[in-house]
Symmetry: C2
Subunit: 207 residues, 2 copies
């Protein structure tokens, strides 16, 4: 039976159902809206366990966005999914360099992924940035290098690549970088999860 | 430990790992590459059970794409994720009407979702189309209406909205429409899943 519900109420009702299903499960209030939005995006309750946050990562992300920071991502899908109306209202923009010709060329020449090269390109932006990695573990490995060499200092790293090769390891690596992080531990994640985490923070600033 | 692997080999290795994990599990050979690509996109093995296919849905989708058909989707994220280079090489294109001003206006006036209105708009395209729904159950409900009224005849419906309100029901509904379908039964799905299914078919035509 299809329930008759006003479009504006669908999301509210969804969050109520998620809260019911989570039941007695205690979530850190600071992280709660991020976790619930990821579950809303995936219908996958594993994220209630998988998502790990450095201390006050959400507050730091929100604070950075409020002050006007950009978001760098490794997929056009995440870029498409992030709420650009709110972000631009805060003087931020989303960058994805994956399809740039110079990035493809350099990646081919060096025999590394475009994702890695695109993180190097992003490190040259003269702006505070949140890095939202939803696909490529090599992006996280590149970020770790850049941070270690003092070439970039992300406001926050959203480390949620998905997959089977180096994904688990790259996420563990990024948690050792002394940079605020939100990571989906294990194999799961994705562009949709990266965008959902960005939006969960943006919606706490403005709807 | 980060494994050193050539960028070109990452996907191949990922599919090998997915095959290993699936173990003895028998997949219908026609559906296998679709199922494995969805798992590759989500790292979620539930899709080995959730994905249901009408008879020869994959062959019909591939055949339609070969002949030159468009893809209509309900999110900009799915549009961003579908391989447009291959699709355009086959004389197809991707449409997403969700952000169109006329769609927003009409949805507001009628008190229905933009997704429903955008399916009605798509039904007026004078082209064979695959419908790939990754977000809005109301898009599937609208499609069912349009099909019943003889206003659209999709080549294939990819019905993989995600969520908690009317999602499960809308998928069951679309399986009764006498149209080829690929559906992710239950709550799970998403734009990433919709795009992965389209790409799994496109990659069987061309890489």
């Amino acid at each position: 039976m299809i329930e008759i519900i006003r479009p504006a109420d669908i999301e509210k009702r969804s969050f109520e159902i998620i809260t019911e299903i989570l039941g007695d499960r205690k979530l850190n209030p600071e992280n709660e809206l991020v976790i619930k939005r990821v579950i809303h995006t995936t219908a996958d309750f594993d994220y209630a366990d998988n998502l790990v946050f450095s201390d006050h990562a959400v507050s730091r992300g929100i604070e950075a966005l409020r002050k006007g920071c950009d978001i760098v991502t490794d997929t056009q899908m995440a870029k498409a999914g992030i709420n650009k109306t709110i972000l631009e209202g805060l003087n931020g923009q989303v960058h994805c360099f994956m399809s740039d010709e110079d990035v493809a060329l350099e990646a081919g020449q060096r025999g590394i992924t475009r994702a890695a090269v695109s993180m190097e390109k992003a490190a040259r932006l003269d702006r505070p940035c949140i890095f939202a990695v939803g696909n490529a573990p090599t992006a996280l490995v590149a970020l770790k290098e850049l941070i270690s060499n003092g070439l970039v200092k992300p406001e926050l790293i959203i480390g949620v690549p998905v997959g089977f090769v180096n994904v688990v390891e790259s996420k563990e690596l990024i948690m050792e970088c002394n940079v605020p992080y939100i990571v989906a531990r294990g194999r799961k994640g994705g562009s949709n999860v990266a965008a959902a985490i960005c939006n969960a923070m943006l919606y706490q600033i403005r709807r």
